[in-house]
């Protein structure tokens, strides 16, 4: 069993490393896929394991995006003049400056959202159920609206991130961002996998199943909830930072705090794959991305109609997701002991 898993991991790793050279035309798509998987995994920590269904992780994603770009620019040039208009033409990053700024920007983009999550966590995580969902929805939209009014980060006209420096290889930009997102994806996956094998995950599950009882058992639920949210925010910020560099242009409501797209995508991907599993979000995000790209290409203009229908169909007919469906079908594979007679009896009882 362990050997099998190792082979799967190795295969994915090799595929991931070889992909940009085997499918050079799809580099950007593959990078976006990595970002989507990261977002789905982080949403799952929050929504799947902890049971706090949030629409607000887009807040950290957008925050990371703005922070990374601002730091990358602000380290070397005045930020206000950059966003005033045409800054990317007046000031040019040398390659060293670009990579230094990007690396430092990513660090900031990861840490600051985590701190923000910690600061607002105590107030927001005290809400439960749909109040939490609506509150985080409001938080995400408010962040978008407010950042659209702040002059120094470009306000309504957007923020052009530093263009990739001129190096000899033409494909360098795509490869750089692909490997950035792929490495962060592996880092995220391994970190979350490590977290899931500790007591911490059990505590999160206890909070999901019955928070009052968990509290009665002596667990400081608030502490764990905040830590869980901070972990989510950390990786969301990282993903946002890379995505900002990849897209090259940050708009407050259409790219950064895009609650209508990215904010719903993360929820949908995690639910499609199966909430509360390690692999569910990965599978869900991959399938979703393939579906989305197909639709965005062939039915241009109708994509939001399709998205709306997809949300309704998934939520109503498929709320357990792919992993949940597999689990129902092959419980033995998930380490559940199945008594055949018992199982049949259950089915007839239904």
């Amino acid at each position: 069993m362990i050997k099998n898993n190792l082979i799967i991991y190795l295969a994915i790793l090799i595929f991931g490393l070889a992909a940009p050279f085997v499918f050079p035309a799809f580099k950007v798509q593959l990078s976006i896929l990595c970002i989507l998987i990261i977002l789905a995994i982080t949403w799952n920590v929050q929504g799947g394991e902890m049971g706090y269904n949030t629409f607000g992780n887009i807040l950290f994603y957008g925050l990371g995006m703005y922070l990374c770009a601002s730091v990358q620019v602000g380290m070397f040039f005045p930020l206000g003049e950059w966003t005033e208009g045409g800054g990317e033409k007046t000031f040019v990053h040398t390659p060293t400056q670009f990579f230094q700024g990007f690396a430092f920007g990513l660090v900031v983009a990861a840490i600051v959202p985590a701190i923000v999550a910690g600061l607002i966590g105590y107030s927001i995580l005290g809400l439960r159920g749909h109040y939490f969902a609506i509150c985080t929805l409001g938080l995400g939209v408010a962040a978008g609206e407010i950042s659209g009014g702040i002059e120094i980060i470009g306000a309504g006209q957007g923020f052009t991130t530093p263009p990739f420096p001129n190096v000899d290889r033409l494909e360098a930009r795509g490869e750089f961002f692909y490997f950035c997102s792929f490495i962060v994806l592996i880092f995220t996956f391994l970190a979350v996998k490590a977290i899931y094998s500790t007591r911490f995950k059990l505590v999160l599950n206890a909070i999901r199943d019955n928070e009052d009882k968990a509290e009665a058992m002596g667990i400081q639920t608030m502490k764990y909830k905040i830590i869980g949210w901070m972990i989510s925010a950390f990786f969301c910020g990282l993903a946002g930072g890379i995505m900002g560099g990849l897209v090259g242009y940050i708009d407050s409501t259409d790219v950064a705090f895009d609650g209508r797209e990215m904010g719903v995508f993360m929820v949908l991907m995690a639910i499609l794959g199966g909430k509360g599993t390690l692999w569910g979000p990965v599978i869900g995000a991959t399938l979703f991305h393939i579906f989305k790209e197909g639709f965005w290409t062939f039915f241009l203009g109708w994509q939001y109609v399709a998205l709306g229908v997809l949300i309704v169909v998934i939520v109503i007919y498929f709320p357990e997701g792919i992993m949940g469906w597999l689990r129902e079908k092959y419980p033995e594979k998930f380490g559940e002991v199945v008594d055949e007679a018992d199982r049949k009896a259950q089915v007839t009882l239904k």
């Binding site: 749909h130 407010i146 939001y304 709306g308 949300i311």
Partner: protein, 297 residues
């Protein structure tokens, strides 16, 4: 404070009056939301999009030469059936499920409606001109468009009509019984399925009225729905379910808040301040309840 609005008392009065008239409209939408939330335990994210759709009905009547004020009668009739169709297709499958499922499903409907309206009606900001003129008060220093007064009046008429309908009619009593205890109502012979459909239809019809009024008074745009949803959600949680005077009061309060936010912070922060206010209200309630070891649920 060197804000202009505090230096000129007439401007303050203007903002308050504008806010009150706007708030009555919000209260009408929020009443629909409170109704379906109380009866079916569903939070409808598509509420705002139903409002906008109702607005487009009035706008199209205006385009075809009918006075848009008639939209107040036509729009709810059409929207009632739209609401019933949405119920039959989607909502009846999420009624007894987890609330988050209903939020997500209606979010899907909301995205669907937004895009369909964008296709059908275009992405322009439109308004239906009623040609009612304006009323000048206090030596022309306070201007009130007559359409705003008209819309506030119609909202009050519809709200009172609905309250009477809920009290006196057979369906109204069935709806109230289902809200109190759906199972008991079912045992006593109430067709809850029909009641749910009617409730959602009435909610959509209220949205239709509000939308028609908004298209006369303000402007509509396919993507403007979500703020209306958030506003009505906020009004309902401040007032509580089934507290009609509370809904009216908090609706008007929200209207005044918005007008002041518009003057003080600037128009670009108007929507943002609404969403932020929602977060602040929820956090405030959470801290207030946590003193008693309770939580919002």
């Amino acid at each position: 404070m060197d804000f202009l609005i505090f230096q000129v008392p007439m401007l303050t009065l203007q903002a308050v009056l504008d806010g009150l008239l706007l708030g009555i409209l919000f209260a009408l939408i929020a009443y629909g939301m409170a109704l379906q939330w109380g009866v079916m335990n569903i939070i409808n994210i598509a509420q705002g999009d139903l409002v906008i759709l109702g607005g487009y009905i009035a706008y199209f009547m205006y385009l075809y030469g009918i006075h848009p004020a008639w939209g107040v009668i036509v729009s709810p009739i059409i929207m009632y059936f739209v609401g019933v169709i949405i119920y039959k297709l989607v909502i009846n499958k999420v009624v007894d499920r987890d609330l988050f499922i209903s939020i997500l499903a209606t979010f899907g409907i909301s995205i669907l409606f937004m895009q369909l309206m964008n296709f059908a009606f275009g992405a322009d900001v439109v308004l239906a001109n009623s040609g009612y003129g304006t009323t000048m008060l206090f030596d022309n220093s306070v201007t009130l468009p007559n359409s705003k007064i008209f819309s506030a009046f119609i909202s009050v008429v519809f709200a009172i009509g609905l309250v009477i309908y809920m009290k006196k009619s057979k369906l109204g009593r069935a709806i109230r019984a289902t809200a109190q205890n759906a199972r008991a109502a079912k045992i006593l012979g109430v067709d809850t399925e029909k009641v749910y459909a009617a409730t959602f239809g009435i909610n959509a019809a209220l949205c239709g009225v509000a939308g028609a009024l908004i298209s006369i008074t303000f402007t509509i745009h396919p993507y403007m729905g979500l703020p209306y949803t958030i506003r009505s959600f906020m009004i309902v949680i401040v007032a509580g379910l089934g507290n009609l005077p509370g809904v009216a009061m908090s609706g008007m309060g929200l209207g005044v808040f918005e007008e002041f936010a518009d003057y003080i912070l600037g128009t670009e922060f108007r929507i943002g301040s609404v969403f932020l206010l929602l977060v602040l209200i929820l956090v405030y309630r959470r801290f207030k309840l946590s003193r008693k070891r309770e939580y919002l649920k």
